[in-house]
């Protein structure tokens, strides 16, 4: 067993695990943060997307020991003081989720996408950037709409701040 220490959603957390333990299982089972999901075995569906050191990654394809020492944000860490993050709010407003299973990965992906391309997203770009996330319920229509709306909202927020 190896001790893994992570800063998760702003708090330092440690746990013991086998070296073969995947980061997603460490987060779900050792840290009790079950918002991050597993939907495939082949690094494709994106239900497990989290942010590691500020970048979106698939936590099903990273060992917990590999991540030790890093800073992690999961879906549980996105809302602050009960206020939904603008991406979460946009998903609700535009019905960008149905069964909710792919949703945490979709939201974390959208936040990363806006971090990288903020203000310049188009429908085509959003669809391309969703290459690593599979949803079976929504046909992506309202996910795309929600991400574009969140991007616009956040861009206007940035402008107002300047």
């Amino acid at each position: 067993m190896t001790k893994v220490t992570l800063t998760v959603n702003g708090r330092t957390m440690s746990g013991e695990c086998e070296d073969r333990t995947l980061l997603v299982h460490f987060i779900r089972e050792k840290l009790g943060l079950t918002g991050t999901h597993v939907g495939c075995d082949t690094t494709q569906c994106g239900a497990c997307v989290i942010h590691m050191d500020g970048r979106s990654v698939k936590s099903c394809s990273i060992l917990a020991v590999q991540a030790s020492g890093s800073t992690i944000t999961t879906i549980e860490g996105l809302a602050s003081q009960g206020e939904l993050h603008p991406v979460q709010a946009a998903f609700k407003e535009h019905h960008g989720l149905q069964c909710g299973f792919c949703t945490p990965g979709m939201v974390m992906t959208a936040v990363d996408m806006i971090n990288r391309h903020g203000g310049s997203l188009t429908e085509e770009k959003v669809r391309t950037e969703l290459d690593g996330n599979i949803c079976r319920c929504t046909g992506y229509h309202n996910i795309v709409k929600a991400i574009l709306a969140a991007d616009a909202e956040m861009a206007s927020g940035r402008q107002a701040a300047e």
Binding site: S61, I62, R116
Partner: protein
């Protein structure tokens, strides 16, 4: 996944030493293929030597037209490098189409070429550019490096540290995705380099990435998509699978070559 032991190296020397201490060990870079393979119990390394925390392996440096990409540089960094894009946009475009955004933020160039998946993008890029693969012990030309399916010239315990290439005069990459895996069903990289035209094909060959002399000759005589119209691509050495048979892949090789030339300008 079978049980394994993890080691984190902070220098190339330490990594090589850790690896040599474990006969059944493997280097672990971004892990985007290796961890997946281990999850399916198709690989069972006793030990993993993590290369992601070796600063010397990461980053892009450019001197004149000479480009060096550290082996542990993630695809996303290659895709986003403005300096590299100014010299060789084709390799940035290629990197921006590997896997998906999350895979690109973990996966590395060294990991990709050391694995040499027959449908991976970088092998076509490096073979097309006539790149040199630098390891902890020697330099290997791309022509010698990519040997066959998942097979390279790397010796036991040998580690890729960087890739080197001279920016070509022109280059382009066009890829037709497998609809399920999103790997290249066929990807073609074309380059007009100082030492001549090179055309490298991934995703299609039954023996992995390969150069296509017929396409190279045609582009040597005239660098244009139209010049490829009468080149024939022989399907007999191409892959057939659920998604594409050899005849269809032969067609895609030609069509992607044309589009790569168009992209190269």
């Amino acid at each position: 996944m079978y049980a394994t032991s993890y080691h984190r190296a902070s220098s190339v020397e330490e990594a090589v030493q850790l690896r040599s201490a474990h006969e059944e060990g493997k280097y672990l870079s971004g892990g985007m293929t290796l961890i997946s393979t281990m999850k399916q119990r198709l690989a069972a390394p006793s030990d993993l030597v993590d290369l992601r925390h070796i600063p010397a392996l990461r980053g892009i440096s450019i001197e004149g037209r000479r480009v060096k990409i550290g082996a542990a540089t993630p695809h996303a960094d290659v895709a986003a490098s403005q300096e590299l894009r100014a010299l060789c946009p084709a390799i940035c475009d290629l990197a921006s189409h590997i896997g998906d955004p999350h895979v690109r933020q973990m996966g590395t160039i060294g990991g990709s070429i050391a694995n040499n998946d027959p449908a991976a993008d970088y092998p076509a890029g490096l073979l097309g550019l006539g790149a040199t693969i630098v390891t902890d012990r020697r330099s290997i030309s791309a022509d010698d490096f990519f040997v066959g399916l998942f097979e390279t010239a790397l010796e036991e315990g040998e580690m890729v540290t960087a890739v080197l290439f001279d920016a070509p005069e022109k280059a382009g990459y066009a890829k037709f995705n497998n609809p399920a895996s999103r790997f290249a069903m066929t990807g073609v990289f074309v380059a007009k380099t100082a030492s001549g035209v090179r055309v490298a094909v991934t995703g299609a060959g039954s023996d992995g990435v390969f150069r296509h002399p017929g396409l190279e000759q045609a582009l040597t005589s005239s660098w244009s998509a139209d010049a490829l119209a009468n080149v024939s691509v022989d399907p007999s050495s191409l892959l057939s699978d659920l998604h594409a048979n050899a005849e269809y892949r032969a067609n895609l090789v030609k069509v992607m070559a044309k589009r790569a030339v168009a992209a190269a300008g």
